[in-house]
Subunit: 358 residues, 2 copies
């Protein structure tokens, strides 16, 4: 078992990575002592992994909430449903929630845990590549609002992340590709070597090779844990993890959270961030072409149909990085070198949107 | 102007206390620089003080949400309404919320501020004695659930508390008495001198004498600020501030938040906590009688009609101090000496409930 720690003082926690962890009672016995647990999952994941997880939880009181699958269900109403179940079962402040699923289940469960009795423990058991490399780590919890992605939420760290890499064997190819967008993102932000590794090993990843997947999960978690450890509340550096996300979130909310997987929208957002960085003269044409080529090889969308540039720009205006009425963006000086800036020419953004959306 | 600080490192903030502060633009200019502000108030307070507050806010963008008055409206649905308005107006992470009202408005506004974009600034402008001495200070935010009081919430500190003591001139007598319950609570927890002062000066307080009111506001805030500074997240000592509240919250939720003011329920809860402490042999009969006498002189209920002992006990079971399935209670070793314990005879609790409820 591979173990990484997210170092946050009294809020530190381990990320455990291995094949078959969901079926190991010792893992949950050791790291999650709560007597009462509420497992939140969705209609896709629960039939696959909930029985094994429940068996591993042993003889405690375990209650389940199964949500419909998909980003459109990451709503305040569904978080309220989780809270209703906690209260109906008279769970105390010493209970724990467990999120078994992808980013939607993880974000929503974490937000419910943050709000219940002003904060109770929760564990992430991510079952998609995207959640394993990104959303399950770092304590950003949220639900969506029709007006904008993740606008209602809390910083609330899990007490444990259990990444069972065997779950990737059942992950649909579309979901695997979506997860790769976040891995490519880490390379672009701060790790040119990872980006180069991805260029060399993408076919193995797309074929689901366990060793290759374990490598990118481990490296992604290392990068994210280090950044979160230095800037838990996104006062500075953590904003870099939003590379591609300002574009991506706007696509998701403009389409009612119904058409794009989050990782797909991030993939398109990375293409736009690279193109705009090139447009602003920050990045070479060669590097921008490498970004685009890797995203295309990964099967990620790099062009948007059926959303107008104006609609995307409108939805970008509610991004959490707006400051003093000015939208800040994460751009690239090169592969492995991202930075946050409000200092870009508005026409460059307009041209980027016009070139990618129609 | 009297200024106290709540010392919480980077989350420290001032409590400003004086007559007429709502009408002073310099106070808000200096302490609340946000360009966009959302003021939340209720149908009772807004007609009295919102115009003066808005004038003091100067030439910024100011939006208002006016909620119906009363504990029954401290709901997740109304917090969601505040969030909807923030998003509809495209407020950024650098906005601020202002709670103008009593504890209901303050708790709900603080919770909305905690959840919006994972946390934005908010200021408390408490207009009831209860909010000025207690709920506006310390960063406990929450909404009620039909199943239990304050079960959905967050720890989220305000950036500023503006206590305009002139607002007490318009406070109904019933609300003034409710606020006194929390002041009596502070004396009982840790300040026998304050309790004695209240015995000597209660008539002045009930008559609304400004100097007497200013004294108890100041002293209450001092006590609360010190305890919160030592134990922000209620790992230990802060639980003492819940003296009387486990009983009180159960009364409120058992009656659908419609019949009791929070302070009235706390008053009845203090009477029960003292009686139970006497029942357990912790407190002398003389001291228990002094507690009861002061509560009665303050016009607070010390006996409950139309709620059965069984109903109160049932609702106490969802209290946030339940640990390992066991209800912990704050009891008294004497006036000025409260402690938290799970070690009490269950029959003593049953006898206390039977003696006070019918």
């Amino acid at each position: 078992m591979d173990t990484l720690n997210v170092e946050l003082g009294t809020r530190s926690y381990p990320i455990l990575i291995d094949a078959g962890l969901i079926g190991r009672p010792d893992v949950f016995r050791q790291h999650l002592p709560a007597r009462d647990v509420l497992v939140v999952s969705d209609t896709t994941v629960a039939p696959l992994y909930l029985p094994a997880l429940t068996a591993s939880l042993g003889p405690r009181r375990s209650v389940e909430v199964i949500l419909p699958d998909g980003e459109a269900h990451k709503t305040l109403a569904n978080a309220a449903r989780v809270l209703d179940v906690l209260i109906a079962n008279r769970f105390g402040r010493d209970c724990a929630l467990i999120a078994l699923g992808g980013g939607v289940v993880g974000d929503l469960t974490g937000f419910a845990a943050a709000c219940y009795q002003r904060g109770v423990a929760f564990a992430q058991v991510p079952t998609t590549l995207l959640a394993q490399v990104d959303s399950a780590v770092g304590g950003k919890t949220a639900v969506n609002h029709p007006g904008g992605k993740n606008l209602i939420g809390a910083f609330h760290q899990p007490v444990l992340v259990v990444t069972d890499t065997r779950t990737l064997a059942t992950l649909p190819a579309r979901e695997l590709r979506a997860g790769l967008a976040e891995v490519i993102k880490y390379g672009l932000i701060c790790d040119a070597a990872l980006f180069g590794w991805l260029e060399a090993h993408l076919d193995e990843l797309l074929a689901g090779a366990p060793a290759a997947l374990a490598h990118v999960i481990r490296r992604s978690c290392e990068i994210k844990a280090a950044i979160v450890g230095r800037d838990e509340r996104e006062v500075g550096e953590r904003a870099l993890l939003n590379l591609g996300h300002t574009f991506g979130h706007a696509l998701e909310s403009a389409t009612g959270y119904k058409e794009w997987l989050h990782g797909e929208a991030v993939g398109a957002g990375l293409a736009m961030a690279a193109a705009m960085s090139r447009e602003c003269g920050l990045m070479t044409a060669d590097e921008a072409a490498r970004v685009r080529a890797l995203l295309e090889r990964a099967g990620l969308p790099t062009r948007i149909v059926a959303v107008t540039p104006a609609a995307v720009r409108e939805h970008m205006g509610v991004d959490k990085k707006v400051l003093g009425g000015r939208l800040r963006l994460v751009l690239l000086r090169g592969i492995g070198d991202a930075f946050l800036t409000a200092d870009y020419p508005a026409p460059a953004l307009a041209r980027t949107l016009a070139a990618h959306c129609r």
